[in-house]
């Protein structure tokens, strides 16, 4: 469910699986206000109603009306990560997990001249 905060207009993304049949409170990632809502089969059937206390479940993600992202501990729920430092952008990798050369970063046409095994062995 998309919860546009009645206060600050932040778009709070209440992701489908945990929020499809939900009764409780969530917290706006933009302004921190607590909102009580009830959903049934994905549709909002009650609320948002201002509430106090701690949120039962945080949004999965949020953004301002101008699309700038809002995330963080205590603000949105953590993302599943494969490593400590996931960035979700192509990352150049030259040495693999046991310290050997692997061709994990962009190349130029000049890099392809000559034998490929030599290129790998020399770790260029």
């Amino acid at each position: 469910m998309l919860l546009t905060c009645p206060g600050c207009k932040t778009k709070n993304f209440l992701d489908p699986y945990p929020f499809w049949n939900f009764k409780g409170t969530t917290r706006c990632a933009g302004c921190g206000k607590i909102w009580r809502i009830e959903t049934a089969v994905g549709a909002c059937v009650a609320g948002p109603e201002a509430a106090d206390g701690k949120a039962d479940l945080l949004p999965g993600f949020a953004e301002k009306p101008d699309y700038s992202p809002i995330t963080g501990p205590g603000v949105t729920r953590a993302a599943p990560r494969a490593r400590k430092d996931s960035v979700c952008r192509p990352i150049p990798i030259q040495k693999n997990v046991r310290g050997n050369t692997v061709s994990g970063r962009p190349l130029k046409k000049e890099d392809l001249v000559g034998s490929r095994p030599r290129f790998i062995a020399e770790g260029k």
Partner: protein
């Protein structure tokens, strides 16, 4: 003399040692290949078609993968969380890489690029098909027929060709026009709806994490192809057409669900991590993480373990070990404890017992009591486990293009003609000169022209 000594050693050495030597994957290259001399064309994309051809590449067939020029097939452009790529994608686009979504579906193959839409491309395919034993394709039904390179046309050129089409919904029937994906096959075939946490526990259907319908579907295609080759070479001298629908395959896998529905009108529902037919035979949570100091969030999580104690004797032992005499008394007989309500009492009790332990601690206690168990291992634990490493289930590969990679080994072992791993994959069109020169008789000048026109 040497042969006799070797034969005697084999006949008398301890069984485990005999197996270790017989199936040593490091010795594979000293042994012949089961599909030596067979040639397969892989006009495929994504996973269903490509994997089918790859199982034959592991057995030693010469498999030629044919992709769209320059950028190759769509699966090269998928990678988990957008991070890891293997470079170069092709000699034309070295600054881009092949994503790991492509990994594992096309090992040991030769890679050429041909545009099927163009008449020059179709002419090349016909030349290759004349010399091939198998054609594997998973384009929409009727597409290759329209391009003049379908079964009806190719069997005129090569009556010995085994033509294997794989796809989602098949080429005939009311749903034939639907495109398909692996998880669509899982969803519509029926295994998706029964997998996952129980409905009454707030659960939802869960997809199988692997492209099960696709990768396993490719294996089913390969079984059909091997049987067809056997029949051709042994009996008939004729090729054939095989159709494999991946959603059909999923429905084939539903075990007792269809007989139960047909006889009693009962629809099988989700039963989570427990088993509908055996108790105790379920996966429970262990309260402690195995690697609390790790910085990787996957390792910080608490562990899980499968406990398998379904014989009455084993269940009694399990209860003793878990210190729960009441449970032992109440559910001494399997008939009593396999009931749904019984399981709802037993597993939470076991999780209470495991709440202050890691999965390794639970496993150690159960091993000592001779209770079958299997910790739920993550990708790193599997990759580093001596059992899988020794057996070659995962292998460090010195890939000629991309370097040092950990690669899955072949899925099964053979003593005399083991399947084996040669290379992981290659850039788009890497073998154009070699294959098109060898099999299509194209000169360097002709290839240059076709390349300019992006026919290859």
């Amino acid at each position: 003399m040497a042969k006799d000594t070797a034969a005697t050693k084999q006949a008398t050495q301890p069984f485990e040692e005999f197996c270790k030597e017989t199936f040593d994957f490091k010795k594979a290259f000293g042994k012949p290949e089961a599909l030596k001399g067979y040639r397969v064309l892989s006009c495929t994309q994504y996973i269903l078609g490509p994997s089918c051809a790859s199982y034959m590449a592991e057995l030693g067939a010469e498999v030629i993968k044919i992709e769209a020029p320059r950028r190759g097939e769509a699966m090269r452009h998928t990678t988990p969380f957008n991070e890891p790529f293997l470079y170069p994608l092709s000699k034309w686009i070295p600054e881009r890489g092949t994503g790991l979504g492509f990994f594992g579906a096309n090992p040991n193959e030769y890679f050429i690029s041909v545009d099927f839409h163009k008449p020059e491309g179709q002419a090349i395919v016909k030349k290759l098909a004349a010399k091939a034993d198998v054609m594997v394709e998973n384009y929409r039904p009727g597409t290759f027929d329209r391009w003049g390179i379908g079964y009806r046309q190719l069997r005129e050129i090569n009556p010995r060709l085994v033509y294997c089409w794989l796809g989602g919904f098949g080429g005939w029937g009311p749903g034939r026009v639907r495109a398909s994906y692996d998880i669509l096959g899982q969803s519509q075939g029926g295994n998706f709806g029964m997998t996952g946490k129980q409905e009454f526990m707030g659960g939802a259907p869960a997809k199988h994490t692997i492209w099960l319908a696709d990768y396993w579907g490719g294996m089913m295609g390969a079984v059909q192809i091997l049987a067809a080759l056997y029949w051709r070479d042994k009996v008939s001298g004729e090729g054939t057409f095989t159709e494999y629908s991946q959603v059909h395959g999923v429905t084939r896998q539903l075990e007792y669900a269809l007989p139960l529905y047909g006889r009693h009108g009962i629809t099988r529902e989700r039963w989570g991590n427990w088993d509908t037919q055996f108790c105790v035979h379920g996966i429970i949570k262990c309260g402690k993480s195995s690697y609390p100091q790790s910085e990787n969030p996957q390792e910080n999580e608490e562990g899980y373990i499968l406990i398998s104690a379904y014989d009455d004797k084993d269940f009694a032992t399990l209860c003793k070990v878990a210190g729960d005499g009441k449970l032992a008394e109440k559910y001494a007989k399997h008939d009593a404890r396999v009931k749904a309500k019984s399981q709802m009492e037993i597993y939470p009790a076991l999780e209470k017992w495991a709440a202050d332990k890691s999965k390794e601690q639970v496993a150690a206690i159960l091993d000592k009591a001779n209770i079958n168990n299997q910790p739920v291992w993550n990708a790193k634990e599997v990759a580093n486990h001596p059992h899988w490493q020794q057996r070659g289930a995962v292998q460090w590969l010195d890939d000629p293009t991309f370097g040092d990679l950990l690669h899955q080994g072949p899925a099964y072992k053979m003593s005399h003609t083991p399947p084996r791993l040669k290379w992981a994959l290659k850039p788009v069109g890497a073998d154009n000169e070699y294959i098109l020169g060898k099999l299509a008789g194209l000169s360097a000048e002709e290839m240059r022209k076709l390349e300019e026109q992006e026919c290859i």
